[in-house]
């Protein structure tokens, strides 16, 4: 094709897309609506199982539909499955929506479901963690798929809201039965092409440059959007992105830096949408090594002392960080999960009062460090919103209580390789670090317990991301028990007890939930979801 466009003025693009779309959808398109939006990074692949990351999942869900999707309030609702549930504790069923067609016109069947689920659990896919409990997936009649699990898994449907359905015939024809295998030097068709049942069809894909979607006139659901064409462009530099929005070169941008929020609100043609994200950003301590890696204190580890952790916890002023560093764009919290996640316990989310610097300094002295102590700190500088600046502010706050922190902020690939635990779950190389976590797969607190708070254990695979090695056997027991507990009242009580344990131990220093800040031109209507997903089916252009 020639003469495609990346950036056009609005009138121009209206005219052009009108021509393109006239033949496409005579029924719905009284007027062609092009929606241009940008994000800092590109979608890494068109293959919906290539990577389990929010942006890829939310983007590919515009082209592919899942069996069960999330509505505007993140509640589950029927998509390609009209009905689902458990016939017994270890058996799930999914009833397939009849009459659905893929973009190429072929019918969507139970075979496609079985194929897709197996592909998502197969080689090259990064979705495998959603299938840990699965024993068998089989077709039962033309309209039903049955799944048996190795043990009761009450969260299976929640997890699978992220798994979209592909066409078996299309994948087989194009040699894309498995996701791209990075170790083979050949391209996978599904990396650059996509063909699903979703509200939009992929028209053009140029990795890192732009991706163009067009409306699917034969979508099974009633469209809530009025778009005929969507042009997505990655624009890495935040300042350029904001300028492009102000200039009207794009209609919407994802991830607005906090510093630009206020000035954008003053723009006549721009509106800002903000809300809390489900991710909690927190600080962790090395509580495992007998001696810190980078410290002047030899022979003992100050972070093993609960009093020291308390003094630090109560010296970090999250409200001040919110006011200046985050410019109001954060939601301070004292728990490791955000409101909206199942298991968030509101009555325990109370930050203990801030200490005066001399009070905190006295606690450190009483703990056996009359001269205070020195420690290294690791921080990413391109992962979370204002990550490095937050760490700097923490360094300044701790300097006042006699804890000298040597900050090392670096790019995420170096950072994670340094701080995360090794394959055998031996500790990574850090003393004090920053991490953010969202149980985005299940929206349930158990994921946080098993990943971040339980004692690292190679056999059970728990505590994979517990980089500091915090360990409390009582908590481990509660977390294991809640995994299989199906009685909600009992489970809630366990969650509450376990939460209290880590809060009382000052195991981590939770800082805040980042705000999800989006900005759009005034003529765009869209829905902002708390998990930072952005389904195009909720977008309308006025």
């Amino acid at each position: 094709m020639k003469g495609y466009k990346m950036r056009l003025n609005f009138r121009h693009s209206l005219a052009l897309t009108a021509v393109v779309c006239a033949g496409l959808s005579a029924a719905t398109a009284a007027e062609a609506k092009t929606f241009k939006w940008a994000n800092s990074g590109d979608v890494s692949s068109m293959d919906p199982y290539a990577r389990q990351e929010t942006f890829l999942l939310t983007f590919t869900q515009n082209i592919y539909d899942p069996l069960i999707r999330r509505d505007k309030d993140l509640k589950l609702e029927p998509a390609l499955a009209t009905k689902w549930g458990q016939t017994d504790p270890t058996t799930w069923f999914f009833d397939i929506r009849p009459g659905v067609k893929f973009h190429d016109g072929t019918p969507f069947t139970a075979d496609d479901v079985v194929f897709s689920l197996n592909r998502a659990n197969g080689p090259g896919s990064n979705m495998g963690s959603n299938f840990v409990s699965v024993k068998e997936i089989k077709k039962v009649g033309d309209q039903r798929v049955e799944v048996t699990t190795k043990y009761p898994d009450p969260l299976l449907a929640d997890k699978w809201a992220a798994i979209v359905m592909m066409s078996k015939a299309w994948a087989e024809k194009n040699n894309a039965v498995n996701s791209a295998d990075m170790t083979k030097n050949e391209e996978n068709f599904a990396t650059r092409n996509a063909m699903g049942t979703g509200p939009f069809m992929l028209k053009e894909r140029r990795a890192g440059e732009k991706t163009i979607l067009v409306n699917n006139p034969n979508w099974w659901d009633k469209p809530t959007h009025n778009l005929t064409e969507v042009i997505f462009t990655p624009v890495a530099n935040p300042a350029t992105r904001i300028a492009a929005l102000k200039a009207g070169d794009i209609d919407m941008t994802y991830e607005v830096p906090p510093a630009d929020t206020e000035s954008l609100k003053k723009e006549a043609n721009v509106k800002v949408l903000e809300g809390p994200e489900t991710r909690v950003v927190f600080l962790g301590f090395d509580q495992e090594r007998p001696e810190l890696l980078e410290s002047n204190i030899k022979g003992k580890n100050p972070f093993k002392d609960k009093k020291v952790r308390e003094a630090i916890h109560r010296s970090i002023d999250v409200e001040a960080i919110k006011r200046t560093v985050m410019r109001g764009q954060s939601f301070p919290t004292d728990l490791m999960v955000a409101p909206g996640i199942n298991g968030y316990t509101k009555e325990l989310d109370k930050r203990p009062a801030l200490l005066k610097p001399e009070e905190a300094r006295k606690m450190i002295i009483d703990a056996g460090y009359p001269e205070g102590f020195e420690t290294g700190m690791d921080c990413p500088n391109d992962r979370y919103v204002n990550d490095e600046k937050i760490c700097q502010a923490v360094v300044a706050m701790l300097a006042k209580i006699g804890v000298k922190v040597n900050l090392r902020a670096q790019t995420r690939n170096l950072y994670f390789a340094k701080i995360l635990r090794k394959a055998d779950l031996s500790p990574g190389e850090t003393s004090f670090y920053m991490l953010g976590w969202s149980p985005a797969q299940t929206y349930d607190v158990h994921n946080v317990f098993e990943s971040l708070i339980q004692t690292p254990n190679k056999a059970t695979k728990k505590g994979q991301f517990n980089a500091g090695g915090y360990s409390n056997p009582a908590l481990d027991k509660l977390a294991d028990a809640m995994e299989q507990e199906t009685d909600k009242a009992k489970r809630d009580a366990m969650i509450k007890d376990a939460t209290k344990l880590y809060v009382d131990d000052f195991a981590y220093v939770p800082l805040h939930q980042q705000a999800v800040v989006w900005a759009a031109r005034k003529n765009i209507d869209l829905v902002q979801l708390a998990d930072n997903t952005f389904p195009l089916r909720f977008v309308t252009v006025k």
């Binding site: 510093a259 000035s263 001040a320 300044a396 300097a399 040597n406």
Partner: protein, 311 residues
């Protein structure tokens, strides 16, 4: 600057009145010299002159954050005449300390690049042959690597070889080394080009005939002829070094943002350019622009004044 003032001291002794006259007769040069001296003096006296110590985290208070400059807004405070950034750092003091750091880094980096580049360029141009081929191919390889990658490499290797407890302590050497290494090629190529022309001239051949050593010929006769182009590059490089340092810090291998240099301040300011907190960007940017402008004007004059062919 140290180069400039050192050279002008030398000039006074060697060619005094001529050069001094050309200096005095150009008001722009005088202004540039005054500006340069002022910026350098204030920067190096920052521990005495600066109202705050922005490199000491214990002195920072987030409650002082984002204060506007005192003269433009009633929210400003005289304690922070040019306002504060989002860490509560005084912008004026940050600029003073940052300029000092940037000057040290740029001067050191340019010195490394000049020494390396001129020596290799002289050797390459004068001897030619295999020596020339090897040096110039190394230069080709060097040019392939952006300063960013050189910095990452040095950073990684240094950390691998020497077990340093604090990264901050080696950061400055990494930056100086990276910038120096990525700049030397321009000197080498320029010097080599001129030497290749110069070495065939009669006076050089005459010197060779009377048995002067190659080293002496190069230093005495060939080197002065390349001073012009080298000075053009050096003055440009001084400013560029500060700018490169800012770019490096952007990629996480520059100087730590707890002790920001002028370039780092501008990089941080770039992020808040459209936020309305203009003072965080404008003042460091203006300081850098003034510094680079002054040094370059001085360099221009110096080059014309030094060039024997122009007198």
């Amino acid at each position: 600057m140290a180069v400039a003032s050192g050279l002008s001291g030398w000039l006074h002794r060697v060619t005094d009145s001529d050069v001094w006259w050309s200096f005095k007769s150009s008001p722009m040069t005088v202004a540039a010299a005054v500006a340069t001296l002022l910026i350098v003096a204030v920067a190096f006296l920052s521990p005495v002159l600066a109202p705050h110590t922005p490199f000491d985290p214990a002195s920072l208070n987030l409650s002082d954050g984002l204060k506007p400059p005192v003269l433009v807004s009633p929210d400003g405070e005289w304690a922070f005449p040019l306002g504060t950034d989002d860490q509560g750092r005084d912008v004026l003091s940050s600029i003073m300390y940052g300029t000092r750091l940037s000057l040290v880094v740029s001067l050191a980096a340019v010195a490394v690049a000049m020494v390396l580049g001129i020596s290799l360029g002289l050797i390459s141009g004068y001897f030619g042959g295999a020596v020339d081929a090897v040096i110039m191919r190394v230069a080709d390889v060097q040019l392939t690597f952006p300063a960013i990658l050189v910095a990452l490499l040095i950073d990684g290797v240094v950390r691998g070889i020497i077990s340093v407890k604090r990264h901050d302590e080696i950061a400055i050497f990494v930056v100086v080394g990276a910038i120096g290494l990525s700049f030397w090629v321009s000197y080498a190529r320029t010097v080599r080009g001129s030497v290749m022309v110069e070495r065939n001239k009669e006076y050089v051949q005459a010197a060779r005939v009377i048995g002067l050593s190659p080293l002496l010929i190069m230093v005495r006769h060939v080197l002065p002829n390349v001073t012009g182009p080298v000075l053009v590059i050096a003055t440009l490089n001084l400013g560029l070094a500060v700018i490169t340092e800012a770019t490096l810090s952007f990629l996480g291998v520059g100087l730590p943002s707890t002790e920001p240099s002028l370039g780092t301040l501008i990089r941080l300011g770039n992020e808040v350019l459209q936020s309305g907190d203009w003072w965080i960007t404008v003042f460091p940017g203006a300081t850098l622009a003034a510094l680079v402008l002054a040094v370059n004007l001085l360099g221009d004059w110096l080059r014309d004044a030094l060039n024997p062919k122009l007198r």
